[in-house]
Every structure is written in structure tokens, then in C-alpha cells.
């Protein structure tokens, strides 16, 4: 019977835990049970005791003698002790447990009928409609764009009104000036035959393609260009994009997502940075051209993957063949060895190297002796040596076909205007070797190398300026930094603007000054950007160097 009761108590304590099981709830239930059971039991006891007292009333109770006390105790014990009517056993034997059970059932029913009440996590009340309106009224946003006051204003862009060989005509200037600010390396953009071919295409196809590639925006000229690119690079397939900055920025997200790893050189340009941001992959930067740092980062990643026992993910190393923000080259041979050892995929942005480096003009990969297919993804802009607009990517069919479905800049953008595709094809045809292995493009590339060497040789010696990468580099991108920085980037930038202005006004040479967006993760030091092109003759190079020398002397002294 006692067990019976314990069983009920157990029921009591367990039944609410079935409804809701917080500690405070247990306490409440136990309290409720006691509050109901204790008065019931005590009422029963008192009733029994008074009945017993009444039946013994002829025997007067004398509390003042010892025997009296003993008698009273005995009488009390008769009632309360074992066998007595007030002993719990007697109570239980005479169906008293039914009473307790009944009471407990009542408690359970009572609890079951209660709403389970929730403990509010946040003590705060939600905002009322009035408060929300008030908050809306109080909110004052920042202006859409920050004020430009106090910021160094870049000079107005020079407006070009006409071309003549390496010279351009500028608005507001009568004399032509030498243009070393265009990366028109092989002079394809002004090539006569190229222009005629483009104009014919405009006349038959119109200018725009009026649709994305998927929706009747694929024109036979695009297919021709893709095939020529694949043949030129000796890869399975090629894909073209309609803008240079959108090329890499859409290729990277196609090959990486949250689970994947991208490692890129800290000096990579903005399209690579934004591609990595958009992909949401785990990103790490290695020190510029530092192979030990690259190995260290890869090993860190490998150790982390192993420790967490993660499944194999896509891993990518991204570098530029020629870094557009610095003009130097990636050490592709060693990078390829590292990539091969750790089974990473390698992606090379060949924008400035394509049509410039390598025996056949395939770019930095060829320059470093890498064979077609060794580098998984090669991407490049068509707006430098090709003299057109747009970008392309070559690789295995799998790599390329994947981009046709996942490259957002390819799927969701109108395709390249057909005449620009034709202009790109024209340049590829020039590079294609004939039976003896020669091609007009090869001669142009040799000439370009001559110009690069001449420019680099003469520019490295200008006092006050420092040519990044030195004279021996075959890169046609020349960044000239200040030899002695003032320590303040804004002041240096202003000096650069003044030098460029001086060079234009007094020397008749148009040079670019690098300018970086606030979105860049790291701003390279201010520099003058000079591109070597085949159009520049020896005479023009001398003028450029002379003008720069004079400008630096005048500006830095003043």
C-alpha cells in the first residue's frame, strides 16, 4: 500500500513533466499536490481522533499524575500506534488510499486542464505601433553618397577626339599628344584591316546582339571566335564574356561556394577580389609572389580540413600572369608545382600577358613553360592586346560548359556585339603560325618586346621615380612609383597628378595615373602607368622619357 502511494507521488511528479518539463513547473505541481492532500488527510485524522475520545469519555483523564500522563500516552498510542485507528496503515487498509488516489486524480485532471504557460525569453515587450512610427520619424539616414569635401579630387579625364598612330588628339589642345595610357599593345584597335572587317560586320549584323547567349543572342561570330580561341590555346573549349571586369568576377563564383577554398595573391586586382567576395568561399591571401607563404597557407588549410574530417572540397589558387596593379609577373612555374602537389586547381588571369608573352603569344603560362591543359582555368580580357572589348576563358570542356550554366555574367548578360567578336578573331588569325612557324603576330610581339626593353631601360634611370619590377621584366605594364614617398598616400597621389599634368602640358605625352576605388581591399602606392605598345617609335620613346624626366625635376623640386 505504501508503494501504492509512492507510485501515485511518482505519477504526480512525472505527469507534468510530460506536459512541460521545466524545474519551476515541478515545484509548482508539488506545492499544489501538498496543498490539496495535506488538508484532506489532516481533516480525516482529526475526525477519527475526536470519535475515539468520545468513546472513552467515562474514563476521566488525569493529566496531572504520572500514571495519568502514561495512560494518556497509552490511549494516544492505541490510537496512533500500529493497529490504532489513526495509524496510516489502518487508514490505508480501510480504503483510505482511494481517497488519496482520488485527490491525486483530481490534481492530475486539474493540471491537465491548465494552459501550459510559457516562460518568456525576452523580458521586453514588443514595440507598439506608435513606438515604431516614432522610431521611423526619428531615423535619419546618411546621405546616399558621402560628401566629397576634403577628398582629393582627381583631375577631369582627358577627352580624346581623334587618333593618329601612337598620337591622339585631345579636346582643347591643338597639337597631338603621344598616348602611352592605352594598353593597345599590338595596335589592333587601330589596325586598318581590322577596322574594315569590323565595319562590314556592323553593316550586316548591326551593333548590338539584343539578347543573352541563351535567348537567340548567340551569333555565328561568337561561335567562330570560341572555336578559334580553343584552337589557339590547344584546349577543348573556350567561352567568351562581354566585358573584361565581369569575366573573372563571374568565373570565380561558378567554381566556388561557401564550402570551398580560394587562395589568391594579395596584389590581385579588383575583379578577382569581388569574384571571391561574391562566391562566399573561404578566402585566404598570400604575400605577393611569396611561395613559402602560399605553401604555409595551403598546409594550414589542409591541416584544418584533416582535423575536422571534412569531405573533399573545390580548392582554387588565383593569380595574374602580369599583375595589372604592379606590372610584375607571377612565378607560375613554382606556383604550378605547389598546386600540383596539393591538388589545387589553378586559375590565371592572363589579361595583360595574352598576345604579349610566350613564343606563340599564349601568355605567362607559356612564358614559364607550362603546357596547355596544365593550368585548369585561363581567363583574359580582350581589351588589351586584342584591341577589342570583352573577356574569355579557355579550359577543358567540363570547365567551360559549367560556366555556360553557372557563370552569371555569361547567362544573364547580353552577348558581345558581333563586330567586337570579329575584331578579336582578326587578332587571333594574325597570331596563328603558318607552315614555317612564322606569323605577322609573332613579328609584332618581337617588336613589342623591343619597345618594352627600350622603355624599361630608359625609364629605370629617371631620378625621383622608381620603376616597379626593374628593367629586365618583359611586361609591357610599367608602374612608376615615387622613389621617396612623402609618407602620405594622398600627397603622393597629388604629386602624381601634377607630374602627369606637367608631362601632358609641357611634353605632349598622355600618361595614366593609377586611381583605386574605396572598395579595393588594399590600395597599391600611387603610380604613373605607362603601357608599351608597338605603335611607339624610338623617337616617341625618347620624348616620353624626356618629358617624364623634366616633369619629375620640376614638380618634385617645386
Amino acid at each position: 500500500n505504501t508503494l501504492h502511494v509512492f507510485a501515485h507521488i511518482h505519477v504526480i511528479s512525472s505527469s507534468p513533466s510530460g506536459i512541460g518539463s521545466s524545474m519551476s513547473r515541478h515545484r509548482v505541481v508539488a506545492g499544489l499536490a501538498l496543498a490539496i492532500v495535506v488538508p484532506l488527510v489532516s481533516a480525516y485524522l482529526v475526525a477519527n481522533a475526536s470519535a475515539a475520545a468520545l468513546s472513552d469519555n467515562e474514563q476521566s483523564l488525569n493529566f496531572f499524575s504520572l500514571s495519568g500522563i502514561a495512560n494518556a500516552f497509552r490511549a494516544f498510542w492505541d490510537i496512533v500506534g500500529p493497529g490504532g485507528k489513526l495509524h496510516p496503515a489502518y487508514f490505508l487498509e480501510h480504503k483510505g488510499h482511494l481517497l488519496i488516489e482520488g485527490a491525486l486524480i483530481l490534481v492530475i485532471v486539474y493540471l491537465a486542464l491548465q494552459h501550459s504557460f510559457k516562460v518568456r525569453r525576452h523580458a521586453e515587450e514588443p514595440l507598439t505601433e506608435k513606438e515604431i512610427d516614432q522610431l521611423c520619424k526619428e531615423w535619419s539616414p546618411e546621405p546616399l553618397v558621402p560628401s566629397t569635401a576634403g577628398e582629393l579630387a582627381p583631375p577631369e579625364s582627358h577627352v580624346i577626339t581623334g587618333l593618329e598612330g601612337p598620337y591622339v588628339y585631345l579636346k582643347g589642345r591643338k597639337e597631338k599628344v603621344i598616348n602611352v595610357a592605352s594598353s593597345n599593345y599590338l595596335n589592333m584597335a587601330n589596325n586598318k584591316e581590322n577596322k574594315i572587317e569590323s565595319i562590314e560586320t556592323v553593316n550586316t549584323y548591326g551593333v548590338g546582339s539584343c539578347g543573352p547567349r541563351g535567348f537567340y543572342g548567340t551569333i555565328d561570330k561568337h561561335l567562330d571566335l570560341e572555336k578559334e580561341l580553343a584552337d589557339f590555346y590547344d584546349t577543348e573549349a573556350a567561352i567568351i564574356y562581354s566585358y573584361d571586369v565581369a569575366t573573372i568576377a563571374s568565373i570565380i563564383p561558378a567554381f566556388a561556394n561557401r564550402k570551398d577554398i580560394i587562395i589568391y595573391d594579395e596584389c590581385c586586382s579588383y575583379p578577382i577580389q569581388t569574384g571571391c567576395t561574391v562566391s562566399r568561399a573561404r578566402v585566404a591571401l598570400f604575400k605577393h609572389n611569396d611561395m613559402d607563404d602560399l605553401t604555409r597557407i595551403i598546409e594550414n588549410f589542409e591541416a584544418e580540413e584533416k582535423a575536422k574530417n571534412k569531405p573533399l572540397c573545390r580548392k582554387l589558387i588565383v593569380v595574374e600572369g602580369i599583375y595589372s596593379n604592379y606590372g610584375d609577373m607571377a612565378q607560375l612555374k613554382s606556383i604550378w608545382e605547389i598546386k600540383d602537389k596539393y591538388k589545387y586547381r589553378l586559375m590565371v588571369d592572363e589579361s595583360h600577358a595574352f598576345g604579349v608573352l610566350g613564343a606563340t603569344g599564349r601568355g605567362a603560362c607559356e612564358h614559364f613553360g607550362l603546357k596547355p591543359g596544365q593550368v585548369e582555368i585561363i581567363a583574359a580580357s580582350m581589351s588589351h592586346a586584342m584591341g577589342s572589348v570583352g573577356g574569355f576563358c579557355v579550359g577543358d570542356r567540363d570547365i567551360v560548359e559549367h560556366q555556360r550554366l553557372s557563370g552569371s555574367g555569361y547567362c544573364f548578360s547580353a552577348s558581345l556585339p558581333p563586330y567586337l567578336a570579329v575584331a578579336s578573331s582578326h587578332m587571333l588569325r594574325l597570331l596563328r603560325p603558318d607552315k614555317s612557324g612564322n606569323s605577322p603576330g609573332k613579328e609584332l610581339m618581337a617588336l613589342l618586346q623591343k619597345r618594352v626593353r627600350a622603355l624599361r631601360d630608359q625609364l629605370k634611370g629617371i631620378p625621383g621615380l622608381k620603376l616597379f619590377g626593374g628593367a629586365a621584366l618583359p611586361s609591357p605594364v610599367l608602374h612608376m612609383h615615387l622613389a621617396k614617398s612623402s609618407g602620405d598616400a594622398v600627397e603622393d597621389q597629388e604629386t602624381m597628378y601634377r607630374i602627369a599634368d606637367h608631362v601632358l602640358v609641357n611634353g605632349g605625352v598622355l600618361v595614366g595615373v593609377s586611381q583605386y576605388s574605396k572598395l579595393d581591399i588594399r590600395r597599391p602606392p600611387p603610380s604613373l602607368v605607362i603601357y608599351a605598345t608597338v605603335a611607339l617609335g624610338e623617337k616617341e620613346i625618347l620624348t616620353v622619357v624626356g618629358a617624364l624626366r623634366k616633369a619629375v625635376r620640376d614638380v618634385i623640386k617645386a
Partner: protein
């Protein structure tokens, strides 16, 4: 409510669609098993490298998309004008089970009616005014500048185009980029960043999504075209502030599109701009499909709804569609454009727009603004609206579920079933119609559709012929769903459209049937009301403002370009300047009444 909300695929078509999809996937799995049993040692991909696609996606691409790959990427070998030469293709021999199906041209082509290119105003092919100018620019300034705008990429045509775009839109300044996608994806990060909130329409284009992801701003999505939901989100966002830190947002940017490319719907710009203004959020309007195509003079969504373009903070648009070129622009207040000139990556690092493309846009804008000395621009836009409304009404009376708004040249026809979509695409091509079909993942699985884009270069005969061909295909594919709610909504929208543009006296007879049979000729109504306006009724603020502005800027361009001066002044004399339609004035006088009427029309339609 938008037309997309009224449709619901019929039960049987849901059932059949799911059946088809599961059958395709089961058979695909069986084929995979058989393939790997037959080639037990063939391992896909290289060992040690993770596969390029994840297995589910890979299966979908190979076994589902691979079967219907011929419906997309159809190459053409002519200008994308009213009729195109679609190249014949066939499945390549080397297509196996583990690569995506490869499909190659076999030579030869079919001449098809082009119902798919975004050639809204018909500037895609050779144009007697535009093409010689584009050719001239290539001759003078080269094929490409090979340089970003800040170095040597700014040419005289770029400067001219930016001035012209700003003038065309009636804003202070504009900046142009070489690609529409990059315009969005590089401008948004330059405007918003950490601590900023972007509220984006649910159906916004992928380039906007890319731009938001490239910025580190937080994003919330409001229900498509639902200004009430936008208000709710804005209120909550401002009240609660940034997540976790609860600091107030630095700024909030609301991004909407003028015409949604997969829905054909125009944005409820007026309501959305009002809500955004009320809560001091900035608005970003992407007019990729609406610039040139909407509004009585082609000035886009603002003109269509009578919204002052200066109330929209950032006007973005592309030159790919209506103007038959490539590239995009951002227009707005001078300081905004100035900020972008300093910080937008596509301005600083990307090669500038090719001079030929620039000149194509400039000359197309000249035609649209009547600066070429003819009324060709006006004819084009009238023809486009006439074509679009005619085809829409014909398709609706055929019993098809056609989404979208009146005047919008984009009209999706719902097929609800992937198999029907594919059948429709193949059957129409066999009948010499080049049409676009869209399915998963671009749309939800059950909302597959086929899309028509109307051009001003289509003649009435072309369109009648196309509809005749489609009648047969529609019967074969059983596409006449006749969703009543959709039809009623579209008809009430038509009545509202007619009332707003041509006055309440025509509302009675404005039915879809009347439009389809030609009893109601909107083009004639437009001409009549234009005449009435010229006859002396005053023109409201918006149009006048624009005209004044044009007059102010006229002398500048005259001095710069003596050749065009004659054409300009001639156009001015003939009154071919912007907007002389009555509704600009009407809506400007009582903007509130117009909104109320609009709201009422939608409530009634429910």
C-alpha cells in the same frame, strides 16, 4: 495585386508536370546505373580533386537539362531584327552519358520570325541614321580605346552620350559603362556597404543580386511589386535597426526594376517611390527593359507612371535592349554620379565602352528625341506599343495565360509544365517562330513559361501570321488554360490604362476582345488626344520642365556641334520635343487622385 498572383496551375497540370519530372529523373538514374555497369573502370574527374559540380546538380544537368538542351542557345547568323536566320543544329556524336550533351551546328539555317530578341525599338539591324554614325566612330576613334575611362578611355562620343542620357531622362548627370550586368554589379557596392540595408524586389535580376552580394550590405526581399509589404519591411527595419547590434541602419536602398523580364510587368513605381520617400529610403530603379519601351516618348517607367525622375535617386538602364547596342548607364544627381566616377570599379578598371557602341546609342537617342529631323522615333514607340497591346490582346482572347502589363513589350505565356514548354519550343521553331522558353531554375518548377518580346520592327502581317502559327501549336500543347481571375484582372488593368491615357469616355468599350478585333484602336486614340493637346489644352509640369531643360541645354550642344544645330532647331520648331501627351499633365496635377483610382481599380478587380 500583380497578374502573377492570380494564376494557379490547374490540378491536372501539376500532376502531369510532377509525373514527367519524376519519370525523367527515374529513367536518368536507371541510365546512370547502366552506364556505370558498362564502364566500371571509368572514373569521372581527376583523383584528388573535388568534382566541379556537386552530384545533384551534375545529374540534373546531364540527365534532365541534357535532354532538352536544344531549346536554348540557338545560334543565329543574321542581325537580330524582325526576322532572323536560326542555324540548324544536331546532337554531337561524341555525346556520352557523363558529359553535358553537346550540340553543334550542321550548316544551313531557317529564316524565323524573331519573337525573342530585346530589339524593342528595332535598332538592332542596319539603320540609315545610326549605322553610318557608328561606323564613323569606329573609323575615327578605333574599335576600342583599350583603356579605362580614367586613363585614355574617355572620348568625345562618351562625353556626348553622358550628356544626352541625362537630358533624355531629365536628370542632372549620367555615367556610362560598357556592360549592363557590370553596371549593376559594380554600382551597388559603391553605394551601399556595411551597416546599410538593401530592400530588393523578389524578382530582381541576377545582376542586382550579384551587386548586393559584392557589397557587404544586408538584404531583405519584399513581395514582388507589393508596396504594402515594402512599407511593412521598411518600418520594421528602421524600428529594429541592424541585427544583433540594434544600431540604426546607415541608409536603406530600395531596388526595383522598370519591367520585370520574366513577368512582363511594369513596376508600381508611384506607390513604391511614395513609400520609400515617406521612410527616407533611397530608390534604385533598374530600367533595363523599360527604357525606350515604356512611356509615350520612350523615357521609361517614370514617364509611364507620371513620376518625376528626380524623385528616383538612381536611374539605371541598359543600352542593350531598346537601343541595339551594349552597355549601361547610371543617371541621377550630380554628386551621386561624381561619387561613382571616383569609386565605381567599372569606371576605374574596366575598358571603356567601345566608341562604335557609344555612337549607336547616341544616334538612337537622337532618333527617339526627334533630333534627326524626322518623327521616326515617335513612330517607333507608337508602333511598339500598338504591336505589344495587339499581340497581348490576341493571345488573351485565345485563352492563354499571359502575364504582364499593357504597353510592356514582354509577355510570358504560362505553360505550367516542363514537357509542354519543350514541346512548344520545338513545335514553334518547326513553324519558323524563334521563341524563348524558360524553366527551372530560372522560374519555379511549376511556373515554366514561354516568352514573347515584341519589337517595333514587326509588321501587323508578321504578327498575324505568328498568331496563326501559334494557334495550332497551342492546341497541340493544350495551353488554353483560360484562368478567369487573370483575364479579369488584365481587363480591369486595360480599362485603367485607357482611362489614364485617353480619358474616361473610352473606358466602356475598352475590352480585350475589342482590342483584339481592332474595334478599339489605341494608336488612333493616342494620335487624337495628342492633337487635342496641341490644339490648346495646357501641358502639365513634368513635360514642361523637360522642355525647358532641353531649351536650356540646346545652345551648348549647338556651339559644340554646328552640324546638328539645324536638325535640333528644326525638331524644336516642329514641337517634336519630349512628352506632349495629356497624361503627363493630368497625373501631375492630381497625383493623389490617380493613386486612389489606381488602388480602386485593383480592389475592384479582386
Amino acid at each position: 495585386m500583380s497578374s502573377g498572383d492570380t494564376i494557379a496551375p490547374p490540378f491536372f497540370s501539376i500532376l502531369s508536370a510532377l509525373f514527367i519530372l519524376s519519370a525523367a529523373s527515374i529513367f536518368g538514374k536507371i541510365r546512370d546505373v547502366i552506364y556505370f555497369l558498362l564502364h566500371p573502370f571509368k572514373v569521372k574527374g581527376r583523383t584528388g580533386y573535388a568534382p566541379i559540380r556537386d552530384p545533384t546538380e551534375d545529374f540534373y544537368m546531364r540527365r534532365m537539362y541534357g535532354r532538352i538542351v536544344d531549346c536554348w542557345n540557338r545560334p543565329i547568323c543574321s542581325a537580330p531584327t524582325a526576322w532572323v536566320d536560326v542555324m540548324k543544329r544536331e546532337r554531337a556524336r561524341d555525346t556520352n552519358g557523363i558529359d553535358i550533351a553537346h550540340i553543334v551546328p550542321t550548316g544551313g539555317h531557317i529564316r524565323c520570325l524573331n519573337l525573342s530578341s530585346y530589339n524593342y525599338l528595332g535598332f538592332a539591324a542596319f539603320d540609315p541614321y545610326c549605322t553610318p554614325r557608328a561606323v564613323g566612330a569606329i573609323e575615327n576613334l578605333g574599335i576600342s580605346s583599350c583603356s579605362p575611362r580614367i586613363h585614355a578611355g574617355t572620348t568625345s562620343v562618351h562625353v556626348e552620350l553622358e550628356e544626352l542620357v541625362a537630358r533624355f531622362l531629365g536628370v542632372e548627370d549620367a555615367i556610362t559603362y560598357g556592360m549592363g550586368f557590370a553596371t549593376n554589379s559594380s554600382t551597388i557596392p559603391a553605394l551601399v556597404g556595411k551597416g546599410c540595408l538593401v530592400i530588393s524586389d523578389a524578382l530582381n535580376h541576377s545582376s542586382i543580386v550579384a551587386g548586393i552580394r559584392a557589397s557587404s550590405a544586408k538584404v531583405k526581399v519584399f513581395r514582388h511589386n507589393d508596396a504594402d509589404h515594402l512599407e511593412k519591411l521598411l518600418k520594421l527595419a528602421i524600428a529594429e535597426g541592424q541585427p544583433r547590434s540594434h544600431r540604426p541602419w546607415k541608409k536603406i536602398l530600395v531596388i526595383v526594376e522598370g519591367v520585370y523580364s520574366m513577368e512582363g510587368e511594369t513596376c508600381r513605381l508611384k506607390e513604391i517611390v511614395e513609400v520609400a520617400k515617406k521612410y527616407r529610403a533611397y530608390t534604385y530603379l533598374d530600367e533595363a527593359h523599360s527604357i525606350g519601351a515604356l512611356g509615350s516618348t520612350g523615357r521609361g517607367c517614370c514617364e509611364h507612371w507620371g513620376v518625376n525622375p528626380r524623385d528616383v535617386d538612381i536611374m539605371m538602364g541598359t543600352f542593350t535592349k531598346s537601343f541595339g547596342s551594349c552597355g549601361g548607364y547610371i543617371a541621377g544627381k550630380r554628386e551621386v554620379v561624381e561619387h561613382l566616377r571616383r569609386h565605381s570599379p567599372a569606371h576605374l578598371y574596366a575598358c571603356s565602352m567601345a566608341p562604335g557602341c557609344v555612337e549607336q546609342v547616341t544616334s538612337a537617342l537622337h532618333v527617339m528625341m526627334g533630333m534627326d529631323g524626322t518623327d521616326r522615333g515617335k513612330q517607333k514607340i507608337d508602333q511598339l506599343h500598338d504591336n505589344a497591346n495587339y499581340v497581348r490582346s490576341r493571345l488573351l482572347t485565345m485563352g492563354l495565360d499571359v502575364l504582364g502589363s499593357w504597353d510592356s513589350p514582354v509577355m510570358p505565356i504560362m505553360t505550367y509544365n516542363a514537357a509542354k514548354m519543350v514541346a512548344f519550343s520545338r513545335l514553334t521553331l518547326a513553324r519558323k517562330l524563334a521563341m524563348v522558353v524558360v524553366g527551372f531554375p530560372a522560374t519555379p518548377v511549376l511556373l515554366t513559361r514561354t516568352r514573347i518580346c515584341i519589337s517595333a520592327s514587326h509588321t501587323r502581317e508578321d504578327l498575324d501570321w505568328a498568331i496563326e502559327q501559334m494557334e495550332e501549336v497551342v492546341d497541340l500543347c493544350m495551353l488554353r488554360y483560360r484562368t478567369k481571375a487573370l483575364y479579369q484582372l488584365v481587363e480591369s488593368e486595360l480599362k485603367h490604362h485607357v482611362k489614364r491615357h485617353f480619358g474616361p469616355e473610352h473606358v466602356e468599350r475598352a475590352t480585350i476582345k475589342a482590342l483584339a478585333t481592332g474595334e478599339l484602336d489605341l494608336r488612333r486614340l493616342k494620335d487624337q488626344s495628342a492633337k487635342a493637346v496641341e490644339g490648346g489644352i495646357g501641358v502639365g509640369g513634368n513635360a514642361q520642365q523637360q522642355q525647358q531643360q532641353q531649351q536650356q541645354q540646346q545652345p551648348q550642344s549647338t556651339s559644340a556641334k554646328p552640324k546638328r544645330a539645324a536638325a535640333n532647331s528644326k525638331a524644336q520648331l516642329e514641337g517634336k520635343g519630349p512628352a506632349t501627351s495629356p497624361r503627363n499633365g493630368d497625373t501631375h496635377r492630381k497625383p493623389l487622385a490617380s493613386v486612389q483610382a489606381h488602388a480602386k481599380a485593383f480592389v475592384v478587380s479582386k
